[in-house]
């Protein structure tokens, strides 16, 4: 008791607890999709902790990296294999929970006012996470690490004027080589995680200020928050802990018994710049975007533009979808578009791994068009909804 008082005098700890936990009310009409933010944080912590352990034995040198991972960590170090599996599965699952978190945001219109900054900081986190995963994937220095990095960095070559120089600047060499490995290492273990943590804090702060959205997308006025909501601590978090422990069962089942999907067999062959593997593909979470790139198989430049657009368009959702109705629960047309988009994303993900020849090439093209159709449909759907609202008065 005494110590709490002592701290309170210096750090206003009681006030902080009140604001952050005890008097922070979460709406009642939310489902477990609202647990995914916390799940992301859990996975982020898992990644950081396992990453630190890996860092103790990893050697960022083109001659040593492969063996330091596959021999030292996987075979010699006590429980090294566990930390590597946790880290690799964690990275994969991070994107699963991120996609669900983002899909929730899109479906329930959580990106709309007043949550534009929550969305933007969130999207920035997604880009950062993608960069972290991409740089991290090079570190084991296997064949797929190498050739995925080689292929993706080559994309920058197409940028007008500065392209070719930019590629060399990124790689630190004419091809992906030791210099690339070392700089990706620096980005992956220091710069990107620091930025991730910082932006996460901003993201959470923004959520705390505007409050959580809910299933119906109808904002609860400040005065009613206490009545219509549940306190973050302990009520909301008690459910959260349960969701977390169920999630951990799934996560560690993957880690111990089903880790193969996060460890491409081709990556157990050391990087060899003279030998291109027959199939080069990124990790599954980039496949959809990669397929948009390949979808425009008749023009590399068009493909590249489409690729960049596909990565960036969702960021502008608050300005693309300006319908006054927030939640997809109350938007029949949007619902259809949303589910087509989700299925198309899965379709693109699967196609992204298949050889882009014959029929698959054309399907990729169609899938890419459907991807963009979603973003074209949204303003139109918003218009229709706005008109209907005006005509039907305050039915909503």
């Amino acid at each position: 008791m005494k110590f709490i008082d002592w701290l309170d005098e210096r750090l206003a700890i009681r006030q902080l607890m009140k604001v952050m936990l005890l008097e922070y009310y979460v709406p009642k009409n939310i489902n477990f999709l609202w647990s995914f933010g916390v799940l992301i944080m859990l996975v982020l912590i898992i990644l950081i902790v396992s990453g630190i352990f890996l860092l103790m034995y990893y050697k960022p040198d083109a001659n040593l990296a492969f063996d330091s991972v596959n021999k030292t960590i996987m075979m010699d170090v006590e429980f090294g294999w566990l930390f590597r599996h946790v880290h690799a599965v964690g990275a994969s699952i991070m994107f699963l929970v991120l996609f669900i978190h983002m899909g929730r945001g899109i479906y329930y219109g959580s990106f709309k006012p007043p949550r534009e900054l929550v969305w933007l900081t969130g999207y920035f986190l997604f880009i950062l996470m993608a960069a972290t995963a991409f740089t991290g994937y090079l570190l084991p220095w296997g064949q797929m690490s190498y050739w995925a990095a080689q292929t993706i960095t080559t994309l920058f070559e197409k940028i007008p004027v500065i392209g070719p120089d930019l590629v060399i600047w990124i790689r630190g060499n004419y091809i992906v080589a030791d210099a690339t490995l070392t700089r990706f290492f620096a980005l992956h273990v220091v710069f990107l995680p620091l930025l991730l943590i910082f932006v996460t804090v901003v993201h959470l702060y923004a959520v705390r200020i505007v409050g959580s959205n809910n299933e119906d997308g109808i904002e609860i006025p400040k005065e009613e928050k206490k009545k219509k909501g549940i306190p973050f601590w302990p009520v909301f978090m008690s459910k959260e802990f349960f969701v977390m422990s169920v999630f951990l069962i799934f996560f560690f089942w993957l880690v111990f018994y089903k880790f193969d999907f996060a460890m491409d067999p081709i990556n157990f062959t050391p990087a060899n710049y003279l030998q291109t593997p027959p199939h080069i593909y990124p990790e599954w979470y980039f496949l959809a975007f990669y397929e948009v790139l390949r979808g425009f198989f008749f023009s590399q430049n068009l493909g590249l533009i489409a690729f960049v657009l596909s990565m960036l368009l969702p960021m502008f959702l608050p300005w693309i979808d300006k319908s006054p109705i927030k939640s997809g629960n109350h938007r029949p047309l949007f619902k259809i578009a949303f589910w087509i988009f989700v299925l198309d994303f899965i379709f693109l993900t699967v196609l992204g791994k298949l050889p882009p020849t014959g029929l698959y090439g054309w399907l990729g093209f169609v899938g890419s068009l459907v991807f963009f159709a979603f973003f074209i449909a949204l303003p139109i759907i918003s218009r229709i909804e706005r008109k209907e609202l005006e005509r039907g008065g305050n039915k909503q």
Binding site: W81, S238, F241, I249, F261, W284, L287
Partner: protein, 279 residues
Amino acid sequence: MKDLKILAIISILVIITYIGIEPFAKHEMHGTVPPPDYNYLDLPKKELTGNPEQGKVLFKQNCASCHSVQADGISATMDKQTAQLSFKVVPPDLSNIASIIEPHFFAAFVKDPQSATKFPKFAMPGMSYLTDEQIGHIYSYLKSVAKPQEKLTGKDILHDACTRCHSVKYQKIKAQTDPKYLNDYLGKVPPDLSLMGKAKEEEYLATFISNPQVMLPGTSMPRLGLKQESAEKVIAYLDNIADPHKEERNKLGLWVLGYLVVLAGLTYAWKRKIWSNLH
């Protein structure tokens, strides 16, 4: 209830994606692996019988210039360095070879190694002048000195059949031949086998080892005529060294999952308690 419905939808989408990017994509990329052929049906089936004493003599005359049989105290006339200079590969010790490879493969191999191994540049000269009877003697001699198949481990077989070309560096096994000669001979340095058990599926390994040309047409790895038991032991060994913590992992996994199930029960009870006080 609603939460369970959402969970069901997510699970279905995840499973569809998983099937698409794992089994389906793999099948589309690599096709189905044909079953291995350990019977070497393209070679004539033969019973090899003979007299070990006569075989030993014949062996000394025809084979011992290149091959040793350490089990019987025979060393090759040619030392390793000369051998790898002349053949670009060190001829293997043949102490256990009769337990490792199929007899009818052996018979066809001695007469015409290039076609038996399906590798036109195979370094051992064919001895078509030997009669089936003489080969039977040599075989029964080799059989008489060899450890029985049951006593051979995967590692022994690997040592006699593979490591003249392949290294297994995580097991501190260096290829008996210097890589620079192998490169001249085979057009490339054969890959290290330390992680092969993870880099390739078991079915792939079985089919590849029994007949490399099926999986990599034109490859310079020779067909070696391994018996099914030999190949299976080698593959099990490769799997084992590539994933040495499998047992530990499976055991620890149960403990961790058990602990987490208990944790989930406790957190559920706590949640129930807190939420039942809500109105």
